[in-house]
Amino acid sequence: MSNNLKSTLITLGFAFIAIFVALVIGGILIQFTTEATVIEAYTALYNDAFGDLRSILNTLWRSTPLILTGLAVAFAFKCGLFNIGAEGQLLIGGFVAGVAGYAITGLPAVIHVTLCIALAMLAGGIWGGIPGILKAKLGVNEVINTIMLNLIALQITVRYGIQQLRLEGAADNTPRIEETAELTRFTDTFINDIFDLPGGVRVHTGLVLALLAAVFVWYLLFKTRTGYEIRAVGINPSGAEYGGINVAKNIFLVMFISGALAGLGGAVEVLGTHRYFTSGLDAGLGFTGIAVALLGNNNPGGVILAGILFGALTQGGMGMQFAGVPREIVTIIQALVIFFMASLQMFKIFIDKRRAKEVAK
């Protein structure tokens, strides 16, 4: 156990080093090609990501959909499936939530919100389930189908759906959802009374849902029979089949749940953040989710941390823009952080080798 703790600490230590190296390289760019200084830029990055309560909450707010898409990708990975389609599943889920949010009226809030979320998850689930069933029954590669479904989802929801549903003269959104369909912002809850939240805090109960989803995924994967079966299929489908596990069923199930998680990601963005389905929802949350999942080592806890890291980079990135760093450099720094975090693997191998040497003596 203490060994486990030690290796976790070592990993964390390296993570900090990785981020540090990325920031140093980014800093060189900032220092020499922008009018901001490194210190200004990174102070802004930190302040906007974690500097005060509002920043921390907004970081969490930005992390919310990323945690969900990250979980979606990670969950599929555990079953050996590469779900590049979180983007499309998120769009479909968000769209359905948006439509259900305004089209259904007269329901009590709890029921309406729950219904919207359920429908969104169902829709996302179907969108993930299609490549799932094609893989399970016909063996068709899921990567290609999820890519295709991303593109189809974009056309159906953002391009076509919005144009059909938007009110005349209005922007590219579906109509605003009913209040009963909203996910409550923290500013509208008792939390506000306790902490006296400043304006501009947008974190909403979607965050709670994301964390619950992570717990759910963790529990499902590591504590239940279904999880046992899913992981077995992911590692060795033939072995799982031998063990009486229905491989096809599990592949479909996993893609369905994965899609539902991404769909939930769309729903929280619509019901909590935007309050309508908007063309702005098509912002690469699904693709970033891939990086979140893999950086998080495909484990729910790791996904939460990686999601927060990305949320912080986005949130802090805005701060850097205010400090005079153009957005593209912020983007470059984000890429660098991912690179160096991903390269951590090398250090782990290095450490293992060193250990072997020590044992030999």
Binding site: Y219, K223, T224, R225, G227, Y228, E229, R231, A232, I235, N236, S238, G239, A240, E241, Y242, G243, G244, I245, N246, D352, R355, A356, K357, V359, A360
Partner: protein
């Protein structure tokens, strides 16, 4: 021995490995190991599973770098920092798990890395094929140069591996358990090849768990135990029992000892079973037999005659094309693997890596695979890992699985111990019907003894047992009745006590009058 002779002996040594130590995370795989091999001899390397044989050979082939130790080749000290260094010295290796690229052809695999070219640009397939032909003629290694590895039988794959080493001019050939996956005929052929190689002046290091083979073919034997060298002996001077004792450190029972069978009710009835594979080839052509409580029905046959498919149909992993399977009176023709488990059918699969284990699951998780949905392991909303771990902690000593604990991944165990994990799992569920397919493949003698004893125990407890093995010896000593399978048909079912090896061998190759009869169906 005169001092002059001693000098000559030194001259003769092609290889010396001195004080080799290799550590893997958690294991000292080789601990100050010494090995001396003479030019032109066949040198057997034996030891229990996990003794460090493969590791030592991988070091010799440059795949692993030892933490300590020196290697002398032809008297000169060498550094083997990669396979290329070894290849250039004239060392070749045939790995236990073949190093062949499945979608490539035989010739492509052989020339890989040392391809002849035309104009330095494109592959000169003709000259490669020619060279392959000439090697195959010289050493009697029959291969089909243009077929892909996927399409050819295991025996031929192995010959491809041998040609690969010779193609690169190997003088010292390492064989890591070459016979584990071969049929008796193929083993015969391999030994013929060994002799030809030896006649041509090649040196062979040969790892095996089958002491009969050691006796039959080797000149000298080096024994490893728990990562250390126990000693090197002349083959002529020792008996099989002696070797066994050197390996295991105790006396081992090499013969299977069993009482008379007491067959009772029919457990499994198979009627006219046929199976066509996805390419439409008839694999099983109408097989009928039954198995009773308290007996062992063995299946003898050259691999690839339908045994594997038969086993998979009887465990739900494949669906029969026609025919009927009745298990304990219930129709099981279309049953799923899970249903078979529920009906208490235990299955030791022929391929432990592909089917038998989830290599990245730990032992505890592996030990409930297939029963993971039963109490107490599975509860309505969670898996009871305490129960699962307790289950493993109970079985590990009971089945003598050598491991640091139940939390270790199955991947980290040696083959023999992996096999014991499977056996522990299947037996612990008290099956009414047990199918054991190649139950001792790649397993050391100590473990073989153990596994055989356990199988017979099952029979004596009144269970029905079906044993499928490529090893005739194993089938004969375990079975009460023996079904001989050839080309998708059961040629005959004979009494194990009355049949002899030659009769069986003949039937297995289809050369009995009965063959025509069944072919007419």
């Amino acid at each position: 021995m005169s001092s002059e002779n001693k000098e000559a002996l030194k001259e003769e040594l092609i290889l010396q490995m001195k004080g080799i130590t290799k550590v893997f995370p958690g294991v000292k795989a080789n601990d100050d190991v010494n090995l001396e091999v003479k030019k032109g001899e066949i040198h057997a390397l034996v030891g229990e599973n996990g003794a460090g044989k493969s590791t030592l050979m991988n070091i010799l082939y440059g795949l692993y770098q030892p933490e300590e130790g020196e290697i002398f080749y032809n008297g000169k000290k060498v550094t083997l920092d990669g396979p290329m260094a070894s290849i250039n010295l004239g060392i070749g290796m045939v790995h236990q798990h073949f190093m062949l690229v499945e979608p490539l052809t035989v010739t492509e695999n052989i020339m890989l890395g040392s391809e002849p070219t035309v104009a330095g640009l494109f592959t000169d397939k003709n000259s490669a094929t020619k060279k392959v032909k000439s090697i195959s003629d010289k050493y009697g290694l029959k291969v089909n140069p243009n077929e892909t590895i996927e399409e050819i039988p295991v025996g031929m794959q192995q010959r491809v591996e041998i040609i690969k080493t010779l193609y690169r001019g190997a003088d010292l050939l390492i064989f890591d358990e070459p016979t584990a996956v071969l049929t008796p005929q193929e083993i015969e052929e391999l030994f013929e090849i060994f002799k030809t190689l030896k006649d041509q002046g090649k040196t062979i290091i040969f790892i095996t768990h089958k002491l009969k083979e050691v006796k039959a073919i080797s000149d000298r034997i080096t024994v490893l135990r728990q990562g250390k060298t126990t000693g090197t002996v002349e083959t002529e001077s020792v008996s099989e029992e002696d070797i066994a004792k050197l390996m295991v450190g105790r006396n081992v029972l090499l013969k299977v000892d069993k009482k008379e069978a007491q067959p009772k009710n029919v457990v499994l009835k198979v009627e006219n079973l046929t199976y066509k594979d996805s390419r439409g080839v008839n694999i099983l052509k109408g097989v009928s037999f039954d198995i009773k409580e308290g007996e062992i029905l063995g299946f003898a046959g050259v691999e690839g005659n339908g045994q594997s498919e038969l086993v998979e149909i009887l465990t739900g992993l494949k669906k029969a094309t026609s025919g009927k399977v009745t298990l304990k009176g219930k129709d099981a023709t279309k049953a799923t693997p899970m249903q078979f488990k529920k009906w208490k059918v235990g299955h030791i699969p022929e391929d432990r890596h592909k089917r038998g284990l989830i290599l990245d699951y730990n032992l505890a998780e592996n030990m409930v695979m297939g029963y993971h949905d039963t109490r107490p392991f599975s509860q309505p909303f969670y898996m009871n890992f305490n129960a699962i771990n307790a289950h493993a902690d109970k079985l590990i000593p009971e089945y003598d699985v050598r491991t640091p604990g139940s939390h270790v991944k199955a991947r980290a165990l040696s083959g023999g111990n992996q096999q014991k994990v499977i056996i522990a799992r299947e037996f612990s569920q008290q099956p009414d019907f047990l199918i054991a397919s190649q139950p001792t493949r790649g397993v050391d003698i100590g473990a073989i003894e153990f596994i055989h004893r356990r199988i017979i125990e099952q029979r004596d407890e009144g269970k029905a047992v079906m044993v499928v093995s490529a090893e005739l010896h194993e089938v004969m000593s375990l079975s009460d009745r023996i079904a001989v399978i050839y080309d998708g048909n059961i040629i005959d079912i004979v009494d194990a006590k009355t049949v002899d090896e030659f009769q069986l061998g003949a039937m297995m190759t289809g050369s009995t009058p009965k063959k025509e009869e069944s072919d007419n169906e």
